[in-house]
Symmetry: C2
Subunit: 210 residues, 2 copies
DNA sequence: CAAGTTAGATAGCAAGCACTCACTATCTAT
DNA sequence: ATAGATAGTGAGTGCTTGCTATCTAACTTG
């Protein structure tokens, strides 16, 4: 209580702490209030710091948003890697992977990423600033998928299947207007995921698939 | 030149004219500037009218946006109907349909619709106002597809396939950051569309498909 | 401990926003 | 032709925005 005075933190710790709080606050603001309503004031209120603190560490609002994008991009890759990790044999296995992928795509991190991508479409500066992170993420997704599924799908088909699956799940997330999009998938979506799983498994049936 | 004085229009004509100009201007503003930058001033500038004219016909900005949504929704249904109209037999036929569907999804009308849907996710009022148009559009899409493909796909699979295709194309449109998204499809996307076409054709191969 | 540097708080500013209001122009009905 | 209604104008209002300037608090270094 005496020697470990709680108000004693090194400058780097303070800095890192508030930056982390700002990034997390930006993620929550983006997911539950949208891009336009993610004002610097709102982020500061959610993070519990003043506006001066924000503009000390980020020269502009866009810089904060770009930093947030890179922050969530790494999380997204990790979530994808964890999801696809299990080995698949039967159609049911693939369905399970797709279901997990769906919840991953609906996570706040992915929601944030999507929100920023949409905003970038109308803002050339943001688009340019987001480009490297975007290409890096896409490449990492493809590499991860190739590592784990290379014996199942050939190069061309891998990219195509990945494009179908993630774009479909993204489209689903975009058009999900429910307050809680993490709810049950719904019959149509479940059937759609099964069709995709059957497509994946039957693409190369010469192996010992069921 | 004399009897048809160009400055002689009935009130209804004037009204309809400026309303149409405002709706069209809103569409172009939304597609090429995004939701946030579609201010009343920007729309009025694009339409060539004053702000007072806008607020005479639409009590609020949101009313203008909702009217625009309903305006493009009908266009979207028509474009979909025209696209799916041709009868399909071979895989190549389905690929052609999907390609046309892709360009339809990338059209300004559909882009506008998507922009409004995304904005509605963060705005409860807009979401509620858009709900009827949204349900009507979805129902019409499904009905149209059922009319034309009912002999090819059974009820459950119809919705699932439709969900896969339109969500994938929507996701593709969302993540297309190019200034001109109507450009060539790209190898991966072409392969993806072919895979989907094969899936559709092989779903019920008992008929006289190739 | 003192001087210097970094972190954070607060008040305020110019610009842009949705929207209003007093007014003019145009059309319609008597 | 005249009166009343509708369409359209453009300056103005209050509010929010991203960002800055000024200041205090906390940490680091000699």
């Amino acid at each position: 209580m005496i020697e470990t005075s709680p108000a004693r933190r090194t400058q780097a710790e303070r800095r890192e702490g508030t930056i982390g709080a700002l990034l997390d606050a930006t993620v929550t603001c983006l997911t539950e209030r949208g891009y336009a309503a993610t004002s610097t004031a709102a982020v500061c209120a959610a993070a519990g710091v003043s506006q001066g603190a924000l503009f000390r560490h980020f020269p502009t609002r866009q810089a904060l948003l770009v930093a947030t994008a890179e922050h969530v991009a790494t999380r997204n890759v990790e979530a994808f890697r964890a999801t696809v990790g299990s080995d698949v044999e039967t159609v049911d296995d693939v369905v399970a992977v797709l279901s997990h992928l769906r919840t991953a795509v609906l996570s706040p991190a992915n929601q944030t990423w999507r929100e920023l991508l949409v905003a970038a479409r109308a803002d050339a500066d943001l688009r340019a600033a987001l480009l490297p992170a975007r290409e890096s993420l896409q490449a990492q997704l493809l590499d991860t998928a190739a590592d784990l599924w290379v014996d199942r799908l050939r190069g061309d088909d891998l990219g195509a299947v990945l494009s179908i699956v993630v774009n479909m799940l993204d489209g689903l997330a975009f058009s999900a207007l429910d307050p809680d999009p993490t709810a049950a998938p719904g019959r149509t979506v479940e059937r759609a995921l099964r069709l995709l799983a059957e497509m994946v498994v039957h693409l190369y049936p010469q192996q010992e698939n069921r």
